[in-house]
Amino acid sequence: MEQSLNYQPGLPEPAAAKTSGIKRYLTLLLRSRTATFGFIVIVALLLIAVFQSQFATHDPTAQSIRVRLTPPAWMEGGDPQYLLGTDQLGRDIFSRLIYGIRISLLVGVAGVAISCLIGSTLGLIAGYFGGWVDTVIMRLVDVFLAFPFLLLAITFSVTLGSSLRNIIIVLGITGWASYARLVRGQTLSIREQEYIQASFTIGSNDFHNIVRHILPNLVTPIIIYSSLEIGVYIIAEASLTFLGMGVPPSIATWGNMLATGRDYLSNAWWLATFPGIAIVITVLAFNFVGDWLRDVLDPKTTYDI
C-alpha cells in the first residue's frame, strides 16, 4: 500500500507529482477494458441523471390509456415514439428508466456515504482507543452482522416508513457495520507502525494522530470498499422497493417498474425486462471500477466482509 499511495506524512504532495499521478492512473484505466467500460457508463449515467429532462422523450408520469402496453418500437405493434414501449398506464418506459437513474445513483451513493460515515467513525474510535469502547462497538457490529442485510433493511424500513429520504437512511444504518469492521482492522495495523509510535513518544495528542496519520491511510481502503458497495446498495434499494418497502410507487424507480412489470409478465415482457437490464449495467459499471481500484491501489487486502 505504501508505494502505491506515495504518501509521506506531513509533506504536501508536489503539484508536478500529482499531474503525473493522474496520467498514470489514466493509463492504468485504459489498460483495463472492463474498468474503461465501467468508467464511461458511470460518467454517462451521471450526465443523464443531471440532464434527465433533456434525455427523456416523454414526461415519465404522463399517462395515456390509449397507448397502454405498447410494445418496444422494433416489435410488431410498436410505436417509434415509444422506444422501449409503454406500461399499463401508457407511460413511456424509456423516459421512466431515465428518471430512475437519478434515484438509483442517489440512493446508492448517499446510502453508502451514510454507512461509511457512521461505520468509519465508530471503527476508527474502536481501533484507536481499544479497551471497553472497542468491546462495546464491536459487540454492536456483531449484532448488526447477525442479520442478513435485506432482513435488517426491511426491519428498519418498517420502523421508519417508506419514502425516498427514509430508504437512504435505512440502507445507511443497515450497512455501517462492515465499514466499522474494515476501518477498525486497518486502524489497528496502522497504529502499530513505527511513525505513529514515534508520534506518541513526542507527545502528540490523539486528535493530531488521527487526523494527520491515521485518516490519510484509511482513505484508500474506504474508497475501494465504497465503490464495491454502491452496486450492493442499488440492488438493495430495488429489492426493498420491489417488496413495497422502499421508494413509494408514485416515484419512477427501477424497483417500482419491476414490481408493476411482474404483474404483466404474460402479455408485456418489456415492463419487467428493461429496468432489470438497467440495474445490471449500472451495478456492473460500479463493480468494474471498484475491482479495478482494488487491483491498482491495494491488491493485498481482501474486501469480503
Binding site: T34, R139, D142, V143, A146, F147, P148, F149, L150, L151, I154, T155, F156, V158, T159, G161, G231, I235, A238, S239, F242, L243, G244, M245, L258, G261, R262, L265, S266, W269, A272, T273, G276, I279, V280, V283, L284, N287, D304
Partner: protein, 305 residues
C-alpha cells in the same frame, strides 16, 4: 477447543438477547399497532378495546418483560391477523424455507466447486473465460430479477416449468436456481483462486514428482487444501441464501418464512414480524457459529483465541 466453544456460545446468547431487544424496540417505534390495524371509520373506544385486548395499554417496560419471558418459553404471542400463536405460523412456514435453501445449496455448491476446479485446471481456456464472465454478471444481477426472467422464459415462453407454487420437484427448480446462482458464482471464483494457489505449491510438485496420477493429485491433495477458504464463504453465503429467500419466495409464491414476513409487515402483525425476524436471525447466527467451528476442525493450524 472446549474453552473456545464455550466462549463463542456465550457470545451467541448475548447477541441473540440484543437482537430480541432490538426487534422489540424497533417495532414499538413504528407506532401504535392498534391504530394501524383498525379501519378508518372505527371509533376511539374500539381502538382502546383492541389495545387492551392486545396488551398494548400496559407500560412499555412491562410489555418488554412479558415479551422477553415469552421468548424464553418460545412464546411470541398470538398473531393479530390469524389469532393463532406466531410460533405456530413459523413452524408451518419454516419447512418450505429450509427446503428451498437446502435444495439451492445442493445445486449451487457442487456447481460452484466443479466450475471452479475446471477453471483452475484449465486456466485461461474458453471454459475459464466463460465462467469468469458468468461470475461477474451474477454479482450484478439481482436474484429477484433473475427469478422474474426465469418465469418469463421457462414458464411463459417455453411453458416448461410452473411459474409458482409449492409441492412438486418441478416447482422448486426455478426458485432454487434463482436463489443459488450468486452463491455458485462466489464458490466458483473462490475455488478457482484457492485451487490455483494450492496447485502452485511445493507439495503438489512433490506429489506429481512421485509419479501420482493427475486425478489423484488434484482430488486427494489439491482439492482438500483448497477447500479451507471455501468453507468460510459457504457459511456466510448460507446466511445470504436465507436472507435472499425472503424476496425469492414472494416472487414464486413459495409458502416460506420470507413470504410470511412480507405478509405480516403488510398487515402490521407485530408478533409475527418479531417472531420471523428473530427466527431468521437465530438461524443466521447458528450458521455462523457452525462455520467457525468447521473452520477450526478443518484447519488445525488456526490458533484458537
Amino acid at each position: 477447543m472446549g474453552r473456545y466453544v464455550v466462549k463463542r456460545l456465550i457470545q451467541t446468547v448475548f447477541v441473540l438477547f440484543i437482537i430480541s431487544t432490538f426487534v422489540f424496540l424497533l417495532l414499538r417505534a413504528v407506532g401504535d399497532p392498534a391504530r394501524l390495524m383498525v379501519s378508518p371509520e372505527s371509533t376511539l373506544e374500539s381502538i382502546d378495546d383492541l389495545r387492551r385486548k392486545l396488551g398494548l395499554d400496559r407500560p412499555l417496560i412491562e410489555q418488554y418483560g412479558s415479551y422477553m419471558y415469552g421468548i424464553i418459553r418460545g412464546d411470541f404471542g398470538n398473531s393479530y391477523t390469524y389469532d393463532r400463536p406466531a410460533l405456530e405460523l413459523i413452524k408451518m412456514h419454516i419447512g418450505p424455507t429450509l427446503q428451498l435453501t437446502l435444495v439451492s445449496l445442493l445445486i449451487s455448491l457442487p456447481m460452484g466447486l466443479i466450475l471452479g476446479c475446471i477453471s483452475a485446471i484449465k486456466r485461461y481456456s474458453i471454459f475459464d473465460n466463460i465462467a469468469t464472465v458468468l461470475a461477474v454478471f451474477s454479482r450484478a444481477i439481482p436474484s429477484f430479477w433473475l427469478g422474474i426472467m426465469m418465469i418469463l422464459v421457462f414458464s411463459i415462453r417455453l411453458k416448461l416449468l410452473p411459474p409458482s407454487g409449492y409441492g412438486s420437484p418441478r416447482q422448486i427448480l426455478m426458485p432454487a436456481l434463482a436463489l443459488g446462482t450468486s452463491m455458485a458464482a462466489v464458490v466458483a471464483r473462490l475455488t478457482r483462486s484457492s485451487m490455483l494457489e494450492v496447485l502452485g505449491s511445493d507439495f503438489i510438485r512433490t506429489a506429481r514428482g512421485k509419479g501420482l496420477k493427475e486425478r489423484v493429485v488434484i482430488i486427494r491433495h489439491a482439492l482438500h487444501n483448497a477447500l479451507i477458504p471455501v468453507v468460510t464463504i459457504v457459511g456466510l453465503q448460507m446466511g445470504n441464501l436465507l436472507g435472499g429467500s425472503i424476496i425469492i419466495e414472494t416472487i414464486f409464491a413459495w409458502p416460506g418464512i420470507g413470504n410470511l414476513l412480507v405478509e405480516s409487515i403488510n398487515e402490521f402483525d407485530f408478533p409475527v414480524i418479531q417472531a420471523t425476524v428473530f427466527i431468521i436471525a437465530v438461524f443466521f447466527v447458528i450458521i455462523n457459529l457452525i462455520t467457525d467451528f468447521t473452520y477450526v476442525v478443518i484447519d488445525r493450524r488456526i490458533r484458537l483465541e
